[in-house]
Amino acid sequence: MGYTKEKLLARLKELQIDFTQYEHPVVLTVDEQAKYVGHLGGGLSKNLFLKDKKNRFYVVSALADTKVDLKVLSQRFGLGKGGIRMAPEEALGEILQVPLGCVTPFALLNESARRVSLLLDQSFRAHDRCFFHPLSNDMSISISAHDLDKFLKSIGRDSAYVDLEANPTVGKEQPPDLAHLVPSDAIIVPESAALTASLQVPTQNDESELMNHNPLTTTTKTDKQSKEKKIFKEKTANEVHSYRSYANPQLFVEEILDKASSLILSEITEETIKQHGDQLGAVASNSIRKRLSLELNNLAIIFKNKAYTEGFRAGTQQSAQ
């Protein structure tokens, strides 16, 4: 699945990145983390996993005492007021592949987080070292901003340092200054995310209070939701699956066969056997053709366009060299 803490640490060592690790009991908030590593000098980080209305995701990593106002950020992104909110729990698992309370820039190592935008507090540079979770809440590693950049570069990411406390005016003459950090693509997360998101947001309605609070602390509300979301997860696994089948022939064919066989099964019932007898084959086959034709054509064109795009990209990159 996602990268483990061990793999990450091994990777950091491979890259000869200087870091120090501290193990401690599982912590879910910055305050708790401070109990174990707060006295060691170095800045504690708080990490927010955010989502906008168009299903684009962001990790905002800031010093624990930097004030982060989501309303201001939203405007600076060009999303209007209230365009950004905390991402739902599901997205955390699906996209960042880390547990609750463990949002960290290192999560961008995962392929699933490819399109998540990362914002780093420019105040990180003012400290020798800062603390982050290495994909697990039972450890913190301290690393310099420079070395964090080195890591990000190794996974093909630019480090975007931002003055998170700035509140520039955004208007006709002054375009939103962070608009270039808005991801160009949305990430589809299973439907359950949308459901639980609307339930989750009220627990964090005073967004300016997020200063010393890890925003993804479990509350009793989310415990209840986790039961509901298990049911939805199976259903919507197909959704995520079909998304990845766009350029993969095997998945593409699976998708087609899945749809066709479920239609066949729905066409052949006791009732229809009685109704059509030995004509059922022809009847079912016609019906399937009619019902599937549009959908399969759509899938096929998506597949074709994807394949062409891949080839095109390869071709243009080749000639650019």
Binding site: Y246, I301, N305, T309, E310, F312, R313, T316
Partner: protein
Amino acid sequence: MEEKDKPNEEDDQEVNPWKVSAKDGGKIDYDKLIDKFGCQRLDQSLIERVKRLTGRPPHVFLRRGVFFAHRDFNEILDAYERGYKFYLYTGRGPSSESLHLGHLIPFMFTKYLQDAFKVPLVIQLTDDEKCMWKDLSVEESIRLARENAKDIIACGFDISKTFIFSDFNFMCPAFYKNIVRVAKCVTINKAVGIFGFTGEDHIGKISFPPVQAVPSFPSSFPHLFCHKDNLRCLIPCAIDQDPYFRMTRDVAPRIGHRKPSLIESSFFPALQGENGKMSASDPNSAIYVTDSAKDIRNKINKYAFSGGQDSIENHRKYGANLEVDIPIKYLGFFLEDDAELEHIRAEYGAGRMLTGEVKKRLIEVLTELVERHRVARAAVTDETVDAFMAIRSLPYMFD
């Protein structure tokens, strides 16, 4: 026949690329419009011909009269029958990020035309127009053009036969030369007559119409149509775009080009009814491609204007007014099955079916449509847009 370019003093309804309003806030009179513009009705015989030539059922928009007017579409079909192909040209002014169903209609129809006739397509994103008319920055209009391109691509166009371009990015020698050629043939007075410009409008506006005209000429795309100067062009669009192409058809023979043909659609009504306005500031006036199933259900149930009677008794007695009922109209656009639509119309009109049932069916149809679009849209990445917009040859464009 063609040159009815007097300003709209006598008529109370006003239809031009920037304004569509009916007489006294009523319905648009399409017969009057066809008459005034000088285009022709798309009759059943043409639809039959399309069916015969393409070997497949005509698109639902043709069957239901959504695309109802044309200029020289019969010539396109004549030539096609004799083995002469054509290319399609359509476009969008990227003025907002979110598209609603009304925006998709010309694209859905154009995709059908591309598949049915197996012909190439150019799609123009007039980011320069929106920059000028909506006072957007150049960068913002380019960005919107790219965003809109993604939704357009999601309509299912074949990348090996489709070229998407934005004016700011595509302006190249061949394109510009044609723009100047066209511009030389249109006096300011004529432009004012066609488009209603005034002395207060900036000169960018007056110089824009040729930009929308020249994609009708194959020589504007040397990378696509080299040595194909004789290739015909068919333009599917909403009828409010007719003025641009009246002007184009007037100019074409004077600069040695063929007149492009047009196939035109009526307007998609707002949720609140024909008299309502679909406006970007009122999200409840339309169904957007980003709406969730819940949003769709909500919007249709709460805001779709009903032609049903005010009480169930009256409804059973008098039936629904199908002329003003929005769910019925929307089903006319999007419900594929002719027989089912007829059945619903008959039952609802007689009062045997209730508004709630009609709305329920519409919600199903729209949810499926929006879902399909969402899935297709999710597959479109920046690389896909780059590929569609790249200046490249399309060797398989007629396959």
